[in-house]
Symmetry: C2
Subunit: 333 residues, 2 copies
């Protein structure tokens, strides 16, 4: 059987209805094929149709983002968490959002190898999503894939990201709970880098807690949390050695406790509304750029503006006016 | 005299013409006031008008981005570079783009104190720009400010950013040359983090080169450059101790050599066309979101979609259709 996402799977001739039916039955090959559709930057209609068909079935899964710098051991933690969930009879969908780069792409994807024993378990689905196509489309495709796994009935959807690029941050901003994984000894520089993520983390994990410097990292995080703003939920800081399975139970317990807090406080609905807003804004922006390109040709309009030394506001205004005209005319009977 | 950007300066009653006139005369208070206008997220027309008035005067300055992780010594390097330029009789505009965060904001802005001796020099203008207003607007405002300083006749415009958030990366993607500052001993984790920036750096600086690990950092960078893709320009890797003024001359020399390469190869025009494209896309996206909000109310449309359990594509499509209708009707006589 060809692997999900392979060219062979892409060639499979399923109608949209068939594909959706198989996705809702959690068939791994169909899930892989459907995610490839979401990733295809040239076919925006494909993602729209798929999400449109499954959206009514979403909202049941627990959506958790696992983020942190490369080398923090996120894959290992996700691996352990998934095994624990499986022992309790719960199903797990895992999306690994990897920024691709000539320098790092291979190394990050290599981490996936560790999870291979989970691959044979039908209660687990694992998929890596990387920046292959257009810049900025990864967040949209990844978040759409979360919907797919949610609709497919997985109890948990774990989204593992390297919390650095905007794409990864955007994805993590649209899940229910965020676990930030760090390690002792990364120092102030890297702590500062993660600032944007620190503020949206609900559970802090200091992984590799058998290393030197764990107490300092623990105190640093506690101090940052005490000076930062937070609502009624005080994010816990957990010491974990994921590779030895130490502390993983507590991570899962805190993920569940946070979920209960979200439900009880009404915060879950508030977050999901704000997630919808973020996704809508992203789609609206993609929509106008695609329309401008289709109706006017983005490159040629920019070329013309450049030759005439027009400022960017004027070029953008021309494009916007052209989109309004063009889209309107298309709709006329 | 009130500091540029202070409330007193904001209250100054200059007409647009007066403000532009004073900006073109390089009056610090007017520059500060004008940048405050660019930063004002509630007044998009202000930025459009200002950039529109000065744009024809842009294109002369050398635009250089100085980026790298917090703690790499970017401020010190920028400080030394500015002094060197001043000794040669050249004027320097400096924009420090700081991501604001409850955890890091203070520390980064504190770096500015070191530059205070430059503040009294009329041939130098320094301004910090932080994420105060709407998310995502910082890149636009900062890039517009570069135009302002360029039009004002500064020989150099140095844009110092922490190359992590999308805003900072976006700014650096729209200047002519990018200097990446790193330090020995940051390790693989942080090297990977910078991947997105590594690929757009034209000059590499290993600062604090009197520290242990400088040779390893040097070799690592050389290796990454050898496996990465680059065109006819091979980015140099320089060892610098900015705090002791060692190697700063070479950084400046490489900045100039890169500039000459850009001009001679025709790459400067190609880059500036691609910068225009990036800016136009950003503005077009801001434009459609602002129009949707003004014409339909973004919050209420999202609220309605949320209540009806509409998927994000449908909500975005409704907003887009509403923008097309509304903008069209506004334009009818």
């Amino acid at each position: 059987m060809p692997a999900a996402g392979s060219p062979a799977a892409r060639r499979t001739e399923w109608s949209l209805e068939e594909l959706v039916g198989r996705v809702l039955e959690r068939q791994p090959r169909a899930l892989g094929r459907a995610i490839s559709v979401l990733e295809d930057a040239r076919d925006r209609g494909g993602a729209r149709d798929l999400v449109g068909r499954v959206y009514a079935r979403t909202g049941r899964a627990r959506l958790v983002g696992i983020t942190g710098p490369p080398g923090a051991g996120k894959s290992t933690l996700v691996d352990r968490l998934a095994r624990r969930c499986r022992q309790r009879g719960e199903t797990v969908g895992i999306l690994a959002v990897d920024p691709t780069s000539p320098f790092t792409g291979g190394a990050l994807l290599g981490d996936r190898v560790r999870m291979q024993s989970l691959y044979t378990d039908p209660g687990v689905f694992i998929r890596s999503m990387a920046t292959r196509g257009a810049m900025g489309g990864l967040a949209r495709a990844s978040r759409d894939a979360v919907d797919l796994l949610d609709a497919a009935g997985f109890d948990w959807v774990l989204v593992e990201t390297v919390g650095v690029g905007q794409d990864e941050v955007d994805v993590v901003r649209t899940v229910d709970s965020v676990v930030l994984v760090t390690v002792p000894g990364l120092g102030d520089e890297i702590q500062a880098i993660k600032a944007g993520i620190l503020e949206i983390a609900d559970v802090f994990v200091i992984n590799k807690a058998d290393r030197d410097g764990v107490e300092r990292a623990f105190k640093d995080l506690q101090m940052m949390l005490s000076i930062g703003e937070h609502g009624p939920w005080l994010p816990p800081v957990l010491k974990v050695v994921a590779s030895r399975d130490e502390g993983v139970d507590r991570v899962l317990a805190e993920m569940e406790r946070h979920r209960e807090h979200l439900v009880a406080s009404g915060e879950l609905a508030a977050r999901r509304r704000s997630h919808l807003r973020l996704r809508v804004e992203t789609l609206l922006k993609e929509r106008v750029v695609a329309a401008a390109d289709r109706l006017l040709g983005l490159e040629s309009e920019v070329e013309r503006g450049f030759a005439a030394n027009l400022d960017p506001y004027r070029v953008a205004e021309r494009l916007f006016a052209g989109v309004v005209e063009g889209a309107r005319e298309e709709r006329l009977p």
